[in-house]
């Protein structure tokens, strides 16, 4: 190779040489990223591997009895099971391996895709925005090198996660086929890479890193919905399923009849997206998006004269897009209700075992499905509250709080304005999500649950979301470095909500999740004490936030 380059360099077409030049310095950046993110990457890898291991362990111990396993398989045929799980290969002999392939992959891909997107944006677009990349790019570093280094480190970490994760499954589980275990982990890793490549493309198109993250996560959400909708049409997935990278991992049929070629779809999609990203990158300026920002107003609107209006202005686009996206998504979910009702009917008619498990009243199944969807919607809204509730912290670290508080604005007024806007935004996205679902169901003639029922659900979830917002705010005021703990609570709530029964967690552990205090939607009556308790916790946390922020130093750069 090297002997050939020496003499052919002069004859090589100019374009080829430029391409090599645009990648100069990649390896240095790779080493730098691994050094800089060694803790971050290790935490991601450790968490995902632990999840693989614990999932295997829990399934092995809790579902050791074949009858219990078949019961679980029957649940996986329900709409909720399909949305939360997979296409349903191997349901007739539902071993631990099959269960992991059918139920686990979707969550692995979700987690790994999030990791991929954050990693790519963090090392490309966000670096450009902070100005750090300017220093790096002024050195002997090619135009494509930062993105290439981000992708290479991503591939490396995904490879490590896949290898260690598979070995963990084999080590922890009994009779876990080695090759199939690798099928699960490698398939999930490759699917996640596709979303990393999507992020590379959005990094070129969008003006800001935050926009690139949002758009990429929206693609993940879309892919999630497409796969779920596709799989609901028929057992093993329909044509529609194949349009989602999630399916490319699930359709490998690990632990049933392993086939590797669907993974190639992930590889191909990744390559195409990366090529597209590189092509777009060559067409844009450093620090800019493909769409140039336009000139704005020379004078502010007369209304821009309070911290509240400014906070609203800063958060309005995030609110608009979240409300629109979540509203449409849950509206679409609502429209599925009749289909789900008839599916459940068919399932119970075909499958005597299922009928025995779920009892004669199958309407409970569709309500359960709705309830799980509502919980998802609430988790999305909690995520919104945490992201936007983190804005005051971002404002402070960017040095803008200093400017804001040097004005005749008290600390309480400033923090209150920020939190009020976040609170209103959270209320709006929750309202849009819940009523969106109602509207979707009503549009297609599903009227088992009334508008009033949905309103009760909405009011029951509201204080739980207040707890997440209160927690972020209190952390911001007292321990600003630890605002990430709010995400830990959200992740915990999700795991408890999804797998609490599976993991056989004790009661108090379940009760740590704010969502656990909310009654099951449409099924349980609202316990007034619980709701008031949630409100109390939320209010105490918010009060703590004000007390703490009034007495501490403003962090200055």
């Amino acid at each position: 190779m090297s002997s050939a380059t020496a003499h052919s360099l002069a004859e090589r077409p100019a374009a080829a040489r430029t391409r090599a030049g645009t990648l100069a310095g990649t390896w240095n950046l790779v080493r730098f990223i691994l050094r800089r993110d060694r803790v971050r990457l290790a935490v991601w890898a450790g968490s995902v591997v632990a999840f693989y291991a614990y999932f295997t362990f829990a399934l092995d111990t809790v579902f050791s009895d074949p009858a219990a396993r078949q019961g679980r398989a029957a649940v996986m045929e329900t709409p909720a099971g399909i949305v939360m799980g997979g296409p349903g290969y191997g349901l007739d002999d539902y071993t631990t391996g099959v269960a992991i392939a059918n139920e686990g992959i979707v969550w692995m891909v979700l987690a790994l895709a999030t990791m991929s997107i954050l990693h790519v944006v963090r090392h490309t677009r966000a670096e450009e925005e902070s100005g750090r990349s300017e220093l790096v790019r002024a050195a002997v570093v090619g135009r494509h090198a930062p993105a290439a280094a981000a992708v290479i480190t991503l591939v490396l970490s995904q490879a490590v996660i896949a290898a260690v994760g598979a070995l963990a499954m084999v080590g922890v589980g009994t009779d876990m086929a080695v090759v199939d275990s690798f099928g699960v982990t490698i398939g999930s890793g490759l699917s996640a890479l596709v979303f990393g490549a999507v992020a590379v493309v959005f990094c070129q198109v969008m003006d800001h890193g935050r926009g690139a993250i949002g758009a990429s996560l929206a693609v993940v959400g879309l892919a999630f919905v497409i796969r779920a909708a596709g799989d609901m049409r028929e057992l093993g997935g329909s044509t529609l399923s194949w349009f989602s990278p999630f399916a490319w991992a699930q359709q490998m049929r690990s632990f049933v009849e392993l086939r590797w070629w669907p993974a190639l779809l992930s590889v191909a999609a990744t390559v195409v997206l990366l090529w597209l990203g590189a092509a777009l990158a060559s067409r844009r300026d450093f620090g800019g998006g493909l769409v140039a920002s336009r000139a704005g107003r020379a004078d502010a609107r007369p209304t821009l004269r309070s911290p509240f209006v400014l906070a609203w202005r800063q958060q309005s686009s995030a609110l608009l897009w979240s409300a629109l996206g979540l509203g449409l998504m849950w509206y679409a979910t609502g429209t599925l209700m009749p289909e789900i009702g008839s599916m459940i009917g068919d399932m119970v008619a075909d499958n005597l075992a299922a009928a025995q498990i779920f009892g004669p009243d199958t309407s409970v199944l569709s309500v359960t499905f709705l309830g799980v969807m509502i919980m998802f919607a609430a988790l999305c809204c909690a995520a919104y509250a945490i992201v936007l509730g983190g804005r005051p912290n971002g404002e402070e670290r960017a040095g803008r709080v200093e400017v804001a508080l040097a004005l005749p604005v008290s600390r309480s007024r400033w923090l209150g304005s920020q939190l009020l806007v976040v609170g209103l935004g959270t209320l709006i996205v929750l309202t849009v999500s819940v009523y969106g679902m109602w509207l979707g169901a009503v549009t297609v003639g599903w009227e088992d649950q009334t508008f009033a029922d949905y309103t009760v659900v909405l009011l029951a979830y509201l204080p739980a979301l207040g707890v997440y917002l209160g927690l972020v705010a209190a952390l911001f005021a007292w321990l600003p470095r630890l605002t990430g703990l709010a995400w830990a609570l959200l992740a915990y709530s999700f795991v408890v909500g999804m797998f609490g029964g599976l993991f056989e967690l004790p009661d108090w552990a379940l009760r740590l999740s704010p969502l656990d205090w909310v009654p099951a939607p449409f099924l349980e009556d609202v316990a007034v004490g619980d709701v008031l308790g949630l409100w109390a916790v939320a209010i105490v946390l918010l009060a703590l936030a004000f007390v703490g922020f009034r007495r501490r130093d403003v962090v200055t750069t």
């Binding site: 020379a298 400017v403 508080l405 040097a406 005749p408 501490r552």
Partner: protein
């Protein structure tokens, strides 16, 4: 109304006594004293990390002091923050703006919260500072962000301007415009605290100067007061032997170079030793003699130089700093 009564009452604009502030184990302020009389333009000089910005942030009520007293416009900065901020405008050294607001919107927001916005004044300032208000703040360069904060501060009618290295990132033309507006503010009775390490800027507009190092004031007074304490730089060409001059007490950093038959000497002399110097020089056959008053630059470099030396001594003890840097500094005076 309140502003007139305050001005009439002659309360100091800033009054700091024995102020302490630590961040963990780092002492940022260590017994600082600083006074700014009403209507005075006070320079606040010091090297990076001397505690200038910390002082200003205490004055703005962003940081809570550990000990000592700080008063601004007669009020307590932490407790009365909101009331006091109505009467002052602040320009930080590194301005962060809201990225999705245009420069014009940011200026309007800042001035409106301080009080009544003056549209004509804004237009005038935008023209003078050559700032395009229609661009989003995210696309502004550092200098332009600085201009946004300056325009917003100067457009407000306030009793006190707190300026933390306000001209960093501005080109010399814009610095001149800035100087002009500071003079105008002073003429209008506004007090100014101008922190800087750009000495010419302080020299141009300030009535008094406080030099701060390691969190405490090491010199303060009017420019004349400070010059009084310092040395005069002398350049002279003589025929005789320079050794007698070098031997005089109060002569520092002497360098000599052959110049025709005689020598060309440059050195600093303590102002108190000037009386002994002149007859000695006169006896050596003077061809030319120039004596320059110390610029603030030199004044500043003495403190800054001391600190550098102290830092280096500390670093040498810790064994961190390469020897070359310290060595070159030590030899600088001898040559």
């Amino acid at each position: 109304m309140t502003s007139t009564s305050w001005r009439a009452s002659n309360t100091p604009a800033i009054e700091i006594h024995d102020l302490h502030k630590s961040f963990g184990r780092v002492k940022a302020l260590d017994g600082l004293d600083l006074n700014v009389a009403p209507g005075e333009v006070a320079g606040f000089l010091g090297p990076n990390g001397a505690g200038k910005s910390t002082t200003i942030r205490v004055l703005l009520g962003l940081l809570r002091s550990d000990a000592g007293s700080a008063r601004i416009l007669g009020g307590e900065p932490w407790r009365d923050a909101v009331r006091l901020h109505r009467r002052l405008a602040y320009v930080p050294g590194d301005v962060s703006l809201w990225p999705n607001l245009t420069g014009g919107e940011a200026i309007d927001y800042l001035t409106r919260l301080r009080g009544k916005a003056d549209k004509k004044r804004k237009t005038e300032l935008l023209e003078r500072f050559e700032l395009d208000p229609t661009k989003k703040a995210a696309t502004y360069s550092k200098g332009n962000r600085q201009k946004v904060a300056l325009v917003a501060a100067l457009a407000s009618k306030v009793d006190l301007l707190v300026l933390d290295e306000p001209t960093s990132g501005l080109d010399p033309l814009m610095e001149a415009v800035f100087t002009e507006y500071v003079r105008e503010a002073k003429a209008g009775g506004t007090s100014v605290l101008l922190s800087s390490h750009i000495l010419s800027e302080v020299e141009k507009v300030c009535d008094t100067v406080t030099i701060i190092r390691g969190g405490r004031a090491v010199e303060s007074g009017t420019l004349d007061d400070l010059r009084h304490l310092t040395r005069t730089s002398v350049t002279t060409v003589i025929d005789g032997d320079p050794a007698t001059i070098a031997a005089l007490p109060g002569v520092h950093d002497l360098t000599s170079a052959p110049n025709g038959a005689g020598f060309r000497l440059t050195f600093d002399v303590d102002n108190t030793a000037m009386g002994d110097l002149l007859p000695t020089v006169g006896a050596l056959g003077v061809r030319s003699f120039t004596a320059a008053p110390p610029s603030l630059e030199e004044l500043f470099m003495r403190h800054y130089g001391d600190e550098l030396a102290a830092d280096e001594a500390a670093a040498d003890r810790a064994g961190q700093r390469p020897a070359t840097r310290g060595a070159s500094d030590n030899t600088a005076g001898v040559r």
